[in-house]
Symmetry: D2
Subunit: 408 residues, 4 copies
Amino acid sequence: MDSAALRQEAKSGACPDAYRAVRALSVALAAPLSDADATIQSMPDASPAKWHLAHSAWFFETFVLRDHVAGYRLFDAEWPFLFNSYYEAEGARHPRAERGLLSRPSLEEVLAYRAHVDAAMERVLDRPELAGLIALGLAHEQQHQELLLTDIKHALSCNPLGPAYAPAAPRFRQGGDGWREHPGGIALVGHRGGGFAFDNEGPAHRVLLEPFALAERLVTNREWDAFIADGGYATPALWLFDGWAWVRQHGVAAPLYWREGEHFTLAGWQARDPAAPVAHISYYEAEAFAAWAGCRLPTEFEWETLAAGEDPAAGNQLDVCAAVAPTGTAALFGDCWQWTRSAYLPYPRYRPAAGAVGEYNGKFMNGQYVLKGASCATPRGHSRAGYRNFFYPHQRWQFTGLRLARDL
Amino acid sequence: MDSAALRQEAKSGACPDAYRAVRALSVALAAPLSDADATIQSMPDASPAKWHLAHSAWFFETFVLRDHVAGYRLFDAEWPFLFNSYYEAEGARHPRAERGLLSRPSLEEVLAYRAHVDAAMERVLDRPELAGLIALGLAHEQQHQELLLTDIKHALSCNPLGPAYAPAAPRFRQGGDGWREHPGGIALVGHRGGGFAFDNEGPAHRVLLEPFALAERLVTNREWDAFIADGGYATPALWLFDGWAWVRQHGVAAPLYWREGEHFTLAGWQARDPAAPVAHISYYEAEAFAAWAGCRLPTEFEWETLAAGEDPAAGNQLDVCAAVAPTGTAALFGDCWQWTRSAYLPYPRYRPAAGAVGEYNGKFMNGQYVLKGASCATPRGHSRAGYRNFFYPHQRWQFTGLRLARDL
Amino acid sequence: MDSAALRQEAKSGACPDAYRAVRALSVALAAPLSDADATIQSMPDASPAKWHLAHSAWFFETFVLRDHVAGYRLFDAEWPFLFNSYYEAEGARHPRAERGLLSRPSLEEVLAYRAHVDAAMERVLDRPELAGLIALGLAHEQQHQELLLTDIKHALSCNPLGPAYAPAAPRFRQGGDGWREHPGGIALVGHRGGGFAFDNEGPAHRVLLEPFALAERLVTNREWDAFIADGGYATPALWLFDGWAWVRQHGVAAPLYWREGEHFTLAGWQARDPAAPVAHISYYEAEAFAAWAGCRLPTEFEWETLAAGEDPAAGNQLDVCAAVAPTGTAALFGDCWQWTRSAYLPYPRYRPAAGAVGEYNGKFMNGQYVLKGASCATPRGHSRAGYRNFFYPHQRWQFTGLRLARDL
Amino acid sequence: MDSAALRQEAKSGACPDAYRAVRALSVALAAPLSDADATIQSMPDASPAKWHLAHSAWFFETFVLRDHVAGYRLFDAEWPFLFNSYYEAEGARHPRAERGLLSRPSLEEVLAYRAHVDAAMERVLDRPELAGLIALGLAHEQQHQELLLTDIKHALSCNPLGPAYAPAAPRFRQGGDGWREHPGGIALVGHRGGGFAFDNEGPAHRVLLEPFALAERLVTNREWDAFIADGGYATPALWLFDGWAWVRQHGVAAPLYWREGEHFTLAGWQARDPAAPVAHISYYEAEAFAAWAGCRLPTEFEWETLAAGEDPAAGNQLDVCAAVAPTGTAALFGDCWQWTRSAYLPYPRYRPAAGAVGEYNGKFMNGQYVLKGASCATPRGHSRAGYRNFFYPHQRWQFTGLRLARDL
């Protein structure tokens, strides 16, 4: 059983090997980073790499070890204040925007913290009553693996020296130019049956779909260049009111990380591949591009319905520490998270879980949009058809892209 | 045919009497205001009364007279720059946040502008090819009548002297405490058939509803007092993440305009009626209250489906210049606009109209929520079951209230 | 005795005729303004004309009538909250930045307030123990007369229609191009002997001067055009660090109110007279210009020493309601307040007066620079050689100009 | 010749031993810091320790080696962009507020940069035509040594773990409670004669002093506690207008780094010594305290005149890497920089030097106040009687304290 397969297993519960594989990948992702690299925070939306490593350990320490394992002693009684993210039920915490001021504990000390937690976890990995919490913790950790990569990419991009996180990955080409059609009707969406899912993916429920089609591939850098050349960023009629205000206020004229023919990648500044999927676009940009192209964004339910028969572990997703980048793929998953026009709202009869973990998803259901699929930085096995990623419409430091839709 | 009936007529087209009645109400609403009252702007979201009067004249002057009436001469060639609101296709314009600096033109000059436009309009009110644009202009003007009232209420509330716009209106009582149930199923929503509707109300389309119930009346001041007494504003678990941040940042502890047992009204500071509907609450507050009450907000489609057989011109709505206020009613419409949990997004196959008027609705479909019904400040005859009002989740200077929903 | 002479008298105490003349000029200055004009506030630094009229009445009502006249009844018990400016000892007050929201009381009501105060003052104008306070109140009112003019100029300049306050005044020419030299030595500066002075003008004390010269006239618009043409606003080496940051942040490229060959005046947009003194420049601009010209700004003591034998009531100063503007004069006083390089700091052994009026000057002695002379908007008779006007280095909505100095 | 003596020598020119001693102290000060510690920046006013180390090397590399040493090759052609501070003549540079994002180059690489520069400098230390520039570079580096200590103190204080930079230093007691009197008269101030001085310390010139007295010791923590207990931070009458606004906006209620009976030091959180000088106070606080105490701040010239006969290398100043802190001393220098009431302005006939180094001091002469003396973090030998330190009135992260003055 190879490590990607093991991480895939994580979604279905507390398999000890899955635990070890997921936890080991986090440590592997930190290997290229110095203590200083792992400390800096380039904007309030992002967090230091070291913080991600510690926070994902805190999650297991708090919700599994502290709450359910008699006699467990905290690694350090002062650290929960530092590494609680946003759980009000867990009390006061270090301000999010000041995570980059924590030169202490060091990266080495954080790795020792992880080892301490792992040693304690080893003794409870087979306790069935903890399987759900452990699966949640592993899914949580995988989310932070992706954030670690996108956050360090942003941080390195702010350095005029343009340092690389890892060597560049080879380039690929993506699939065909056609459309995948769907006749509409009543579809069943949302999580049902086996395997792990976040609470925001349920309850399963029926939705009514009109006939539609989705593009076979993501919008490419070449197409985006054409949008720019046609004055896309200077034509208010293409934009939402809030989007146009955002363009004007920030002087936006291209996707994040673009400069002339290059873009910043985890391998430093590189020439852009015209055939690769465009990445690092905001919802506003995706919307404007779709309007320019005479198409629209899909709804989350259209996407999910088409994806129902696909392999969510296919495509360009994260397996090992590398300079991941969108390269193109025939798969529906991978390369970039795909903006939908669906506001991130609760499903009918949705109820958050009780206790602190109930703060995981529900309280964010405002002002954000659902993204579907998976990106090159998503640990393979983490996502699925019903997965609901979500970001605010101006955010674009994730690997976010666009698959066009149209009415039939 | 009385004046309220005439204004109701406005929704179905360019009846000359409807034109005159709607236009006359705007002027009547300004009667209690001095030139200075009509000039001030208390926040960027609000506009001066004088500006509303001039802008609604500009709308007819621009989209009817200038574009469709040969030989029409602008009242003043410099004024369109002042009174264009947000139409990019109409060019540059005075900054929204500086509307309150326009002591000139005076209120008297603005009324002369309106008379000039009305005189020109009289000659074209019966031209059938203009009926649609005129109906749009009248619906537009009615929206600004409501804004004029809510904006002047806000402006007067900022004055420590607490001046009144008009004498207080008598108090009423609202309907029963029960629930109106609906079995769910496939419903047809959105505008179809006769009468005027905004473009955002269509196309008509089918939706799937699960069984639900709506409260027979709006949440009252008494219930809101209980929410406060129970620590509603101090319990983060009740709030959306963004809502809790808003509460903390602004020190929110009650609906807008509340102080001790009083609230600010268009009749100045008044004792609160415990049995009247609570008003001036944000979406965040509505959401938190619903969570506290063990209920939820309705979707826009649940509300519309229940309202299909109701009289949209019933209930506490605006007929004449007065200190309007929510008083309670058995009707589904009136008193307060009712927050729904539906994000303000385009209906399937929605396309904005061509030209500048296409900017009316579509470009605002981001980050806002749909409100249904009508308020005490909505001109009677303006709203309907399919009407989609929309505001950002933190906004609460409109007469916004809450009707609870629950799953069956 | 004409009215300018009477106002001059105001500086030496509580002459009843002086009281009446000063108070009447304030009312005269408001004559061209509508209620709406008198209500608006175009920035936090400025105040509505109506507010100036009411605040200067409040000053007499509070510090003379309320404190010293038995049986005086406040015109309105709620108004002191509105019209206290910054006197902490007088308690809470309406926020400065929200003065423009006070559509009530109306201009007419404010004028009635002034008449009420004047009637009560008439009965005490000859009480010798009040002479000092009354002289202070009149000097205070004259300061607000100048502010009323500069504030309404700013407010009208924000209106795209460019309305005029009054008809344009005729143009004059200013004096010679030479220098007035001074040999230096020990000089006595500060207020001594008869007549009114503010507390910040004393105590009189000795200072040591090195030989210096002051220009016979103010820097002109023509010279400023040359500064601009030579890249003055694009050459960081000419600017203070804070000044350069201000230029960059606000995109400053000319004095306030300039556009192409015109500038905004109290008579609306007018062609600039190249020979007139430049006005509406910040300290930063004055400093940069002086560096470019190979000169420097004078100190306050150099200026005062040269001015000791001059007539402070000569030159282009305010006599009646008119569109005052700098026109050029051979006098040392008038046209524009003149920036000095002297920080506004206390003189040796300075002590603020006891009580609320002690807040008049002393607490502002930080971060500002002294300006000397008088402007075209300064009521004639108000200023004197020892007068210390003061503003922050970025402020330029007053009639501020520049007289060059150099070392000998 | 011991190392403190050598560093003292630095002020009089380019003695090679002085160069080595000063440069070695910078490296020694970094010894307790990890790469991450040396990378973080806790506010825009502060800089990372690594940045200080690199910037002071850049200063020598640029103004000595690049400009005056044929054949010198830059260590790295991209680094000047990173390590130029504010020299416009040296072109564009990395934004000040983003210095904390530079995880690369590492601390180790920066130390290699310093060694590279030192090796090249060794070959030119005896060139007499470079002596002035080298002396300037060493004085510059000493300023950054003090900033490195105060900046890392601030950064560590933001960490909830309260890490220590070094072990606590022993406590001392300061001098007597009396006053040192001066009869006033004409004094000669400013730099004259031998030894290094910054351009802002000249030209020497005469000033007129009135009789005055300075306290023999600095204000203590005990006295500050009394000020707080007497409502000092809640009494607006004690404060400058700008100071009171600062108190209200930031909720200031004690010196920086105070919490209950403790304060944060370079040795972590420690109990406060009541007899030690109070430190980390703003000009606003110093001014308010002096008003409360019935005294005033000295002028820079009073201080300098009294200090003329004192040993500027006496007292509690920096010799080696340690947790320096104000402890009390009988010397006029040391413990804390002392706020004066003198605005930081140019001396008569002051002219900045030509070229980029002319930007060193002159362009900052606005809005700041002069501080005299030296602090516990000032390298011994760096300061002198004529030295003019300067900060904005709200800044207090330096070791800033207060010596009272009064008129005689």
